[in-house]
Structures are given as C-alpha cells and as structure tokens.
C-alpha cells in the first residue's frame, strides 16, 4: 500500500481538491474546496478565525484522521493519487507530507534526537550526524545550536524551537511542508527569520501555510486562498474559499468584495 504514495507521477500540481467538504460528525466545517497547489510554490491560506483553513491544511497529511468524528466528501489528489483511497495508509502519507504546527512542539529530547527521531522511524541507515547537520543548516538554526546538540530542544527560545521543528520536518525529506500558523507564537524577528527560511525552502519543497497575518501572506506567498465563513440558520459556521489567486492579484485587485474588505483590514 505504501507504493501507491511513494512513486506518484510527478506533476506540477501537488494537490488538487475536488468538491471537498469536511465534516466533524454531522457538522459541515468546510464546503466546496476546489484548489490546485503547485509544486515549489508557497501557497497561503488566509481568512478570519474559524473559517476552516487549518482544517483543510490538516486534510493534506491526514492528521485529521486522529479525530474520530472527522470525515470528508469529495476527493483530494496528491499527484493524481486519491489521498483518502482505502488502500492508502495515513502513516505513509505523513512521511511524505511534513507538518509544522502553530505552537512550537519539540520533543522533550535533545536537539540531536529531535532531528534524528523521524529518520530513525524510517530506518535511516546513512550518516545520521551529517543528516542532523544538513537539516539544522537548512532550517537556519545550525549556528545557534551546533555547540549544544545534546541540550534539550525544549530549552531553546520559541523562535529557535520553531526552526528546530522545521529542521525536524525536513529531516525526513518530505515533498511538502504544511505550516499551520507557524509564526503566531513568535516575535517579529523570529517571524522574519522563518519567512526568509520559507523562501529558501521552496527551492526544494512545496509549502502550504496557514496564516492570520496578511502581511505575511503578501510578503511570503506565491498564491493565496482567501477563506471566509458563513453562518447558517442554525448558527453553525461553515468555511469556504472565496477567492484563490496569485498573491499579488488577490491583494491588489481582488474580484470579490469580501476579499477586498478583508485584505484592506476592514474585517477579520
């Protein structure tokens, strides 16, 4: 079953969703998501709180499977392969599609072991020291930690922890890195560092980022999807995509009034 995911046909479209509806039990959290996500680009999801952007993001590596009531209608294709086909093992999916979370979440282990954790799971046999170093270098944190690889990852500052988590995600050589508001717990300087880092990383990886910060989306991303939320007569809130465009189009000449109001800071 692993082979289905491991050798997909390489296309420039990494993800394609078709009429994707996301449910928690009976509750429809997000409806009608139809987007393509392009290789080696940074795609940003923006929108007000509760509009389902993180929910959609978590579908891409099947992390929502951990929530029992979760299910979807519609299809998510990863290089043409249906990600939710019955013979797809979510564990294999997550090895290809890495994730960086909103709260930095290093393991309470040493910096070295934080990075080595993923490769060890995969049975990595090569030079672990070298892999740890290259991963930390790619995440622009090598200089900060090279003398204290045996220190606990949890003892680093918040911004360093988040870069450590990015290094940890890179170490398993995923194709895609999903970032769920990676800078929301960080100070402005750490935020800029992570944004610079994303520009470096997109040479090798496809990045999808959820952000509350519109400047961040406009600075860092190539394409942006604007999510909004509608409330039905029963008071349930369902998210949907209003507009999905190249970032400069979405920010400078949005088609929809809601997008225009949101990006100009009038609501949200």
């Amino acid at each position: 079953m692993a082979s289905n995911v491991q050798s997909p046909t390489q296309t420039d479209t990494v993800f394609r969703t078709e009429n994707l509806d996301i449910y928690y039990g009976d509750f429809k959290a997000v409806r009608d998501v139809n987007i393509d996500i392009q290789k080696n680009q940074i795609t940003a999801f923006i929108g007000p709180s509760g509009c389902g952007k993180s929910t959609v993001l978590r579908c891409f590596n099947r992390l929502n499977d951990l929530i029992k009531s979760f299910h979807i209608n519609g299809t998510i294709y990863y290089h043409g392969q249906d990600l939710y086909a019955p013979d797809i093992d979510p564990v294999e999916v997550r090895r290809q599609i890495g994730m960086v979370f909103q709260q930095p979440n290093p393991f309470p282990k040493t910096i070295y072991d934080n990075i080595a954790y993923g490769p060890r799971l995969l049975g990595f046999k090569g030079d672990m020291d070298e892999l740890v170093e290259t991963s930390l270098r790619k995440a622009a944190i090598w200089e900060d930690v090279k003398d204290k690889l045996k220190a606990l990852g949890t003892d680093l500052s918040g911004g360093q922890q988040q870069r450590l988590c990015i290094a940890r995600a890179i170490a398993v050589k995923p194709e895609v890195i999903l970032m769920d508001e990676p800078c929301s717990a960080l100070d402005p300087i750490s935020t800029l560092k992570i944004e610079d880092l994303m520009q470096e990383l997109k040479q090798d990886y496809t990045i999808v980022i959820v952000t509350h910060n519109m400047q961040q989306a406009s600075r860092a991303s190539d394409r942006t999807a604007f999510f909004n939320v509608e409330t039905n007569e029963k008071g349930k809130r369902t998210g949907y995509i209003v507009e999905y465009e190249p970032t400069e189009v979405l920010f400078q000449s949005p088609r929809e009034k809601a997008t225009q109001e949101y990006v100009s800071g009038r609501f949200g």
């Binding site: 564990v91 890495g98 979440n105 995600a169």
Partner: protein
Amino acid sequence: MTMNPDMPPSAAPMQSWRRSDTDRFLDKAFLWLTGAFGYGVIAVLLGIAVQVAKAAWPAIQQFGLGFLTSQRWDPVQNVYGVLAQLYGTLVTALIALLIAVPIGIGIALFLSEDFLPDAVKRPLVFMIELLAAVPSVVYGVWGVYVLIPFLNPIARWLNQSFGWIPLFSSAPAGPGIHAAGIILAIMILPIISAISRDALVAVPGKIRQASYGLGATRWETIFKVIIPAAFSGIVGGIMLALGRAMGETMAVTLVIGNSNRISSASIFDQGSTIASLLANQFAEAGGLQLSSLMYGALSLFFLTLIVNVLAEYIIRRFSIKY
C-alpha cells in the same frame, strides 16, 4: 485601586491604602498556623525515629551491624539478627514490582489513550483506584482462602517440572514468599497505574501530534515519545509502590508462612519480612527481644527512607518541562 485624577484629594487619602490591623493579624496568624501544621509533621516523624532508635539501643549495642547480616532469630538464646527478614522484605517487594510494573503501566496506557469511550473509561479508572481502598487484612484473608489454593497446583507443577532452577527448587507448602509477592503486586497495582496514568495524561497533545506528523504510528509514538516524556512520573509511582510493598504488614503476615530463616533461593519457601516479624512477635516480646524488634523496625525505616530519597532523585533528574 484606581484614582480619578479629576477628583480633588480626599481629606484622608492614605486611610484607604492601609488594611486594618485585624486583617493583617489574620494574614499572619494563618501563616503561623499552616507553618505549625507543616513543622508538626516533621516533629512527629523525628519523634518516631528517636523513640524507635532509643528502644532499639540495647540491641544496637549488643549486636551492632552484625544484626543485619545474621539470620539467627532465637528468643530462647536471646540472639537476634534480621537478615532473613531483610531478604524476605526485598524479595517479596521485588516479585511484586516484577508483576505489577508491566501490568500497571499497561493499564495506565490503556486508560490514558483513546482506546475506550469515556463512559467505559471513567468507571474503570475508578474501580482500579478502588483496589487501593480494600483493607489489607481483607487481601490477606483472600490470599489464604483463594490465592494460595489457586497457586498451589501451579507452584507444584513449576517445582516438579523446573525444580532444577533454584527459584523453584523447594516443594510448595501453601503459604510462602511467592504468595506474599503476588498479594503485594495486587496491592501496589493501583498506585502504579494511577500515578503512571496521571503522568501519561500530562504529556501535552502537541508532542503527540508532532510525532504523528512525522509519520510515526501509535505504538512508535507511545514507546518513543509519550513514555519517555512521562518517565519521571512513572518511576515516581514505582518507587512509591516499592515503599508501600516493603512496609505492608497484615496481608503479608497472613500468607508468607512466617519462617525466620532463609532455607534456599526458592520463592516457594516460607519466609518473613521485617513488618511481619514485628506483627507476629511484638505482643509477647520483652527485654532484648523487644529491643531487637525495634532495631528491625529502624532498619526498615532506613530502607524505605533510601527508596524514597532515590525516588525523589530520579524524579528530579529525569523530570522534563515540556
């Protein structure tokens, strides 16, 4: 308190900034009271240690440290040593840990993961904690009437089939070290599982998510991330359980056989622990025998002290902030 800058200063502005004397006295008094409670506990502990040591003094003078290495307990000749009881205490506690640690951690994992719906999980947690509320004499009686008859055929079979292993080398006579160890295992199970479960539940979900996000399975996540993160709490629970097992008296006295010597390495031998020795002989003892019992109690006191200090050290050494 907020001051309105537009308001003219009132006649006595400082008055409202001071608390009344009663108020401040009550604050102080409360501090003294809680302090007295806290120091009171320490005073009681020291008082017990001093009293026991005083009562043990004649035996300490008579036998010295040799008391701990002699297994002769002879009220007729008035010669005493507690090696057999120390051995019994440690071996029964060890058997109890060997059985209760894996089972207890297993229970803790089962009840801390989302294997069960909450409606089933909660009563189960409660029932396991209820095991700790059963009086120890009930465990002892249960041991005599249920556990020992149940164990007998198994022990006999082990002795006949694997008698060449020193652990099983003696014929079981009903009560014995093995029965005491198993009773203790049941008694400490709730301590281990409850404390381990608390430690496992306290591991933040974001760490679990991180592990899943890297493509770890549930088992890899449990064994490589969750258990290591909860390690200090689990060890703390085990040490607490060990202290309990070494000091447990009534249940052990009823099922261990109360033989005051080490016959062989076999777990089917009858034996005794320091606590069971005290329970058996304290009422009739006098003179040097009583003093020797006190010396035994003092050595148990130190044994549990060492275990607890060790536990504290391990908890500090391996405790992790997330």
